[in-house]
């Protein structure tokens, strides 16, 4: 899978990870992928809720190396 844009929101707390992700998704085309790395523990639930609400697909949501990784496909 070709990731179009990567956003590192490590160290940032709510609402910045979801804000930066929303900004990033707006800059890519429909169907393209955005990867977001975050450390905010609230971000797992936040990204799930955000994807449901906005209709963008949360293709992956997982934890690795003490960080959370989200892969979003723009609707």
């Amino acid at each position: 899978m070709d990731i179009k844009l990567k956003v590192d929101a490590s160290g940032l707390s709510c609402p910045l990870p979801i804000l930066k992700a929303s900004q990033a998704v707006k800059t890519v085309e429909s169907g393209e992928l955005v990867e977001v790395i975050a450390t905010d523990p609230g971000s797992v639930k936040d990204f799930a809720a955000w994807a449901t609400s906005t209709g963008n697909a949360l293709v992956e949501s997982g934890a690795a190396d003490g960080k959370f990784r989200f892969l979003i496909r723009r609707k």
Binding site: L12, P15, L16, I18, L19, Q23, S53
Partner: protein, 137 residues
Amino acid sequence: MDETVSIVLFSGTDDKLAAAATLAAGAAALGRPVKIFLQYWGLEAFRADRIMSDHGLVPEAGAAGRAAVDAAAKAGQAHWAETLRMAKELGEVDIQACSASMDLLKLKQADLDPMVDGVEGVAAFYINAGEGQIIFI
């Protein structure tokens, strides 16, 4: 259901301003329209010449709260004004100053940060809030 989120921002300390900015930014990220109505010290905090000044914290913050907020700022947490600017860029966030508070504080719109979109009265605020939630901070 009306998805508009309306926030009455009365308080002028940095912690309450940050809480309001967080709620506004979250709603904007979800694609919900946001209206912010600035009254009293919330309005005062948007003075262009002082918006980035230290506006203090609520009394219950104490010294430990002050230290925690300072540490977060040092770690790169955005200032509330920056969070609000990002929210405005991202979505539909309309910021209006309460006309009575403008009179009280002897302010003109030119005295306020450019992110304030206009001045309105409370009736206009309620009409624009529609059936959506109203949050008072």
